[in-house]
Symmetry: C2
Subunit: 183 residues, 2 copies
DNA sequence: TTCGCCATGTAATAGGTTACATGATTGC
DNA sequence: GCAATCATGTAACCTATTACATGGCGAA
């Protein structure tokens, strides 16, 4: 009834894989949680990082399996009931995550905003702004509420800094669409 | 030698497809150009829209073929030399583009920035900022140069507005990373 | 004239999205 | 005790990226 009987698969390296941002999200969250099922990961994503980098829940099942197959995760499966799979980092997984975090990147991220694409190709600015403005205002309000909940740290953490960045960009979006809405 | 002899394939609808942002970029650029080969589209992308929504060049070959197969484009192929393919919008393609442009979207775009992801998972802010700051400063300078080249229109066009938005977000990135670099 | 780079294109792979499917839980 | 909803998982499809491949042109 409690899933104590499990099948354990330890760090066998069946194949080489390429680690994607999705991979590092899984590794990073498992590092925070110690161990988790894909479903728990899904909830962790929703709780924080999903705000600026969301994932399909299906992705968490395939990605954990893929990482386990390549030796980055240990996998443990319940023999009863749901046969849930529980994952945790291997040494290899920890090393991969640490190395990635420790390596700064100069990668540039494009906006890739659908509304902007329409605007580019001649969409009516006011109509677009009327749709976009409330969305970004709501998102901004949500972020600011999140920020007010967190502790007023002297030393901001990673998630906190990411949130600050999100707020800055949302303010920019609001400014931009408001100008078009009013213009 | 000049490819006058061509094979023409007219708007046959072989299959239904789903139109993606990539599809609309192709449709939109063909609308601007009248007609173009995939390679010419590649150059058009590089000249403007690629700044905030870039494409792999291979994508332009597969996407044009896909759109032609679904009746959104006419395809004309040289019989000589390079056997280049020349595409133009069909009525159906024009209608699809117009409908898309005319429909505002409330879709929200995530940041999905790799550096921010690393920051979230504990990367050293100063080291990251040292990599990111020059990249964003350079991009901002490029955008501002682009803006200064364009005419000082009374009525800004779509591309111009998209550029303004890009400038706003780059300023935000510069502000953000500068603070971490100095902090 | 040949080396190297840009032009132009195709093929293979893989990551991500969508759709589907069943087990548990809660409320009525 | 039934319906509805949430939890949990798998399968299929398809777009996008990567890798590969050849042709033409300019420079040395």
């Amino acid at each position: 009834m409690d899933g104590c009987v499990r099948t354990v698969t330890r760090g066998a390296v069946a194949e080489e894989i390429r680690l994607t941002p999705t991979s590092y999200i899984v590794l990073g969250l498992l590092d925070l949680a110690g161990e988790a099922t894909p479903y728990e990961l899904k909830r962790m994503v929703a709780a924080g990082i999903g705000n600026f980098w969301s994932l399909q829940h299906a992705q968490l099942y395939t990605e954990t399996a893929r990482l386990a197959g390549a030796g980055y995760l240990d996998e443990e499966q319940e023999r009863s009931g749901r046969r849930r799979k529980l994952y945790r980092l291997t040494k290899r997984g920890q090393a991969a995550l640490r190395g990635w975090v420790a390596t700064p990147t100069d990668q540039f991220t494009e906006l890739r905003d659908l509304a902007l694409l329409k605007l580019f190709f001649g969409a009516e600015p006011k109509a677009l702004a009327a749709e976009q403005l409330p969305v970004h205002e709501a998102k901004l309000a949500e972020y600011e509420r999140l920020r007010s909940q967190g502790p007023a740290d002297a030393a901001p953490t990673g998630p906190r800094l990411a949130l600050e960045s999100g707020i800055g960009h949302e303010r920019e979006w609001v400014r931009f669409w408001r100008r078009l809405a009013d213009g």
